[in-house]
């Protein structure tokens, strides 16, 4: 009988090491998934608490108990202080789900909080995803104070679509040159540019297309314009 001593046989040793690496890889992926879901669960709890507090505040506003808002505002501020990322995300998702006409109800309440502190934090101190969330939040909330900063991100690949959409929401047709420039430098894809243009009122786009500046619009974009 031929016996290969596995600890002396390089092929078997190699197979064993490879197996160990792959099994460790499985364990690592399991741990990553579990950790990610735990973090996601925690984040969802914070986001839910934030939205609940906002809704409570709105109910009090509706019942004309505006002076009693202090508790909710204080708690929202505490959440903003401790979990800026989660709050910005919850705020953006909430506005996204809300009809534009009803957003002002939430915006009126949020103006009493430290929400504006969240934006620069997410824009400059967190990762790419948070920057995108902050830009979405700026556009959806109509935070015009951040329009200049938003425009600075218009040519940054990755965040440009969010910046251009936010800018179009804030500045309407005035954002068009920035969008077209971002498209021409390749920071926006065709559909991303169209998404940003879609935020501008149709009448303003129709008027723009009749102007001489419309000649600067690339043909590929014009193909999809209705007017």
């Amino acid at each position: 009988m031929m016996i290969f001593n596995w600890h002396l046989d390089p092929l078997l040793l190699y197979a064993l090491v490879l197996s160990a690496i792959l099994l460790s890889g499985i364990m690592f992926q399991m741990a990553t998934i579990v950790t990610k879901h735990q973090r996601k669960y925690q984040s969802e709890l914070i986001q839910k608490r934030f939205v609940d507090l906002l809704n409570q505040s709105i109910q009090k506003c509706n019942a004309e108990h505006i002076n009693d808002l202090q508790t909710e505002i204080a708690e929202i501020n505490q959440l903003i202080e401790l979990h800026k990322k989660e709050v910005a995300n919850a705020w953006m998702r909430l506005l996204e789900k809300t009809q534009p006409a009803q957003r002002s109800v939430y915006i009126d309440v949020i103006k009493h909080t430290h929400m504006l502190h969240c934006i620069p934090h997410c824009l400059y101190e967190e990762g790419l995803a948070e920057r995108c969330i902050a830009l979405e939040a700026i556009g959806l909330s109509g935070f015009e104070a951040y329009a200049t900063e938003t425009a600075m991100f218009a040519n940054d690949k990755g965040v440009a679509p969010y910046a251009c959409i936010a800018l179009a929401r804030l500045k309407k047709i005035e954002a068009m040159p920035v969008i077209l420039n971002a498209y021409q430098v390749g920071a926006l894809s065709t559909t991303q540019a169209l998404s940003a243009i879609a935020e501008i009122p149709s009448a303003q786009i129709a008027h723009f297309l009749l102007q001489p500046e419309a000649a600067s619009m690339p043909d590929r974009l014009k193909t999809y314009m209705l007017t």
Partner: protein
């Protein structure tokens, strides 16, 4: 030469071959898996609102959804309704009844109030002619073609001939697409003008429920039989094909959901009607045509558009499916053998096509022969028990790793599982699958090989 020495050298040679094959497969996997991440970034995939392009505010290109159907009275209404609920504004649906002998056409007539309209002469793509054409009274963009039975490929060709869209979206009759599927697919065509074919991921619909257009996974426990197939689809579509897309070396798109630029399909004469795996066949044909004519093109798959399709529920159905897949793959690979080592594309000729032939098509042969020879060597004392155990462990670890990588990728980018419990249960199935299920699958594929070598035709 000493007999024992000769046998020892043969066993050693087999070990080297096993390691070389495994290492090549693993290296290819690592390269493709790494590129998957690049592809996802390249697609700009992020679950935030810029993906929701408001097509209703623009001139959206017209898309023709083609649903070939043959004796599908059970799921056809659900499938057509799912297609009708798409949020893409400019589309038409063509259901092509391939001579069904059950209640398929009656059900369509009743559900969508069909009225006859004029038929067209259908040449040169189709082998048959439409007997009747109907239009829905309730959904004017829904039309049904009735034709004699001539197979799925010919039905799709007829649909292509009748369609008026710039893009054709081919969907299986037992498949369900989500309302946002078409929009997400067309976005890619608009952004990538050289894209000629694009597929989505495929997942088993056996364990989902549709509520108000939203697809939810059933909270009940998934059977191991279906779970194994979910894992296979995840490995194939989420991890594997997406990675190949980034390299522009994708050679197959799942036939359950594919969007083509219509002009590209017309250039190659539509689907080949004598092919058993028409989905692999059309993609290989498109590659060959575009390479031959030096035309720029891209063929991709994206994993964040899921087409839910019914997978076999019984062992017999699964066996038939696997034999047909293997047989059809060998048939098409042989027809397109000129792609091997082609000078027109180093990637297709020297990497992608050889990979599909030597690593994927030969996998069941090598897997089964390897297993049998390992058992034989162990029984005759040519290989020690510890060696068998180590090699078994390596194969197990490799399969488990592939499965977990696909699950992790899905969880990271697509998030199609609602709870951690579902993911862990599926992961457990992924660790069970290498023991028994994988070998059974390899055996069925070997039957496909055997029948193909012997020239035995296969049935659907």
């Amino acid at each position: 030469m000493d007999y024992t020495h000769l046998i020892s050298s043969i066993v050693r040679g087999m070990e080297y071959f096993f390691h070389a094959h495994l290492l090549l497969a693993l290296l290819a996997y690592i390269v493709v898996a790494a590129l998957l991440r690049k592809h996802m970034r390249h697609l700009g995939y992020r679950d935030i609102s810029h993906e929701k392009v408001p097509f209703e505010k623009f001139k959206a290109p017209k898309v023709s959804i083609l649903i070939p159907v043959f004796n599908e009275q059970e799921g056809i209404i659900e499938s057509v309704q799912a297609s009708l609920s798409t949020d893409y504004p400019n589309f038409e649906i063509w259901v092509i009844d391939d001579g069904s002998s059950d209640q398929t056409l009656n059900q369509l007539q009743e559900s969508f109030l069909l009225k006859p309209i004029e038929t067209q002469k259908c040449q040169p793509l189709c082998q048959t002619q439409a007997t009747r054409v109907f239009q829905s009274s309730t959904w004017p963009n829904l039309r049904v073609i009735q034709k004699p039975h001539s197979g799925k490929a010919d039905s799709l060709n007829m649909g292509i001939q009748y369609s008026q869209g710039q893009y054709v979206c081919c969907i299986d009759s037992d498949s369900i697409i989500t309302p946002d599927a078409l929009r997400k697919l067309i976005i890619k065509f608009i952004n990538e003008p050289t894209l000629i074919a694009l597929g989505g991921a495929i997942a088993p619909s056996n364990e989902i429920m549709v509520r108000q257009g939203e697809v939810l996974r059933k909270p009940t426990k998934t059977s191991i039989f279906v779970g194994v197939q979910i894992i296979e689809y995840l490995r194939s579509f989420t991890a594997w094909r997406t990675g190949w897309s980034y390299l522009d070396g994708l050679l197959i798109i799942g036939g359950a959901l594919t969007v083509f630029e219509k002009s590209a399909v017309l250039k190659v004469g539509g689907y080949r009607t004598d092919a058993s795996c028409e989905d692999l066949e059309i993609i290989l044909t498109l590659h060959e045509y575009h390479l031959k004519n030096n035309l720029p093109y891209k063929i991709w798959t994206i994993p964040n558009v899921i087409c839910w399709t019914r997978v076999p529920k019984t062992k017999e159905d699964l066996k038939r499916q696997r034999i047909r897949w293997m047989w059809g793959a060998l048939q098409s690979l042989r027809w397109h053998k000129q792609l091997m080592f082609t000078q027109k594309s180093a990637l297709i000729g020297w990497f992608s096509f050889p990979h599909i032939v030597f690593i994927e098509a030969f996998a069941p042969v090598i897997e089964l022969l390897g297993l049998l020879s390992m058992i034989a060597c162990a029984l005759t004392g040519l290989l020690s028990f510890s060696s068998c155990l180590i090699y078994g462990l390596l194969i197990y670890a490799l399969s488990g790793f592939y499965s977990w990588y696909a699950i992790a990728t899905n969880d990271h980018y697509i998030n199609s599982f609602q709870s951690l419990q579902q993911i862990l249960r599926l992961g457990a199935v992924g660790l069970i699958e290498p023991i028994g299920y994988r070998q059974r699958d390899a055996y069925w594929r070997m039957i496909g090989w055997w029948r193909w070598i012997n020239g035995q035709p296969i049935k659907w």
